[in-house]
Symmetry: C2
């Protein structure tokens, strides 16, 4: 939808929703492994070279483990969780910034008690995500910290 | 600075600052009218077609009244205030979204009691801002609501 149709100020609503914006499925069901995420596209316009999206992972949910050529520029907005970026597992909380460089495996996981919501800026023109092969997954899991992260065992 | 030099997770610090990021002046002093704003560039990378910046206007401060070809995609992060977009004056608060279309006059103003902080996404390649001529300013001020906004008289 073009900006003019949307108006210029879009109010924030309880529960991290925005006036006139649909809460969309993260991905098509069955397209890739993930659990309980929604997506809202906050800004997308032919005159903007990037899009800004808001993703929310429900308590105990996770995003797809994937990689692609395009970068992600992420700011956490609510909740706490962990992210895998390359071979690094990090705890993240409100307003932390996460850079996902090109071709870097990444996944976000919410804690057990609350949703993890974050902004993600991406180029409007971008490639599709790749899933890990069995061999790549084994290589990641050979690191005990990464294996614990992927199995949902969080370090608190 | 390239992403690799910065690390992949940048922690949030008290007072809306981020690990390893400089709080920069909004603009060169004297280049244009404004009052008490700082700027932090959260994401800027050769592989990203946009930049994400955080601006903070101190209590009672304001950004420059200006327009340009490039769009702004804004999310308020802290505080409350008002913005002018075109000929529309709107109250804004946390997580509200503001779209500034091409060639649209705009200004942000903080309330008297607290800072107004917001994210602003822009194309990496963009034009410079224009200031209003005396005639354009008079045209804006011919609307009493806009005149009150520009004179710092807020509707509460």
């Amino acid at each position: 939808m073009a900006t003019d149709e949307l108006g210029r100020v879009r109010g924030f609503r309880e529960g991290f929703r925005w006036e006139g914006l649909d809460r969309l499925p993260y991905k098509e069901e069955g397209a890739a492994p993930f659990r309980t995420i929604s997506r809202q596209t906050l800004f997308a316009d032919p005159n903007l070279d990037c899009e800004l999206r808001y993703f929310e992972i429900e308590a105990d949910g996770f995003s797809t483990l994937e990689r692609h050529e395009h970068m992600h520029a992420v700011m956490i907005l609510r909740g706490n969780g962990h992210c895998l970026v390359g071979r690094e597992v990090r705890e993240v909380g409100p307003y932390d910034l996460v850079t996902i460089p090109a071709w870097t495996w990444h996944q976000f996981r919410a804690t057990r008690d609350e949703p993890l919501g974050f902004l993600c800026m991406v180029n409007a023109k971008r490639d599709k995500a790749q899933l890990p092969s069995e061999q790549e997954l084994q290589s990641l899991q050979s690191d005990p910290r990464i294996a614990a992260f992927l199995n949902g065992l969080r370090e608190r």
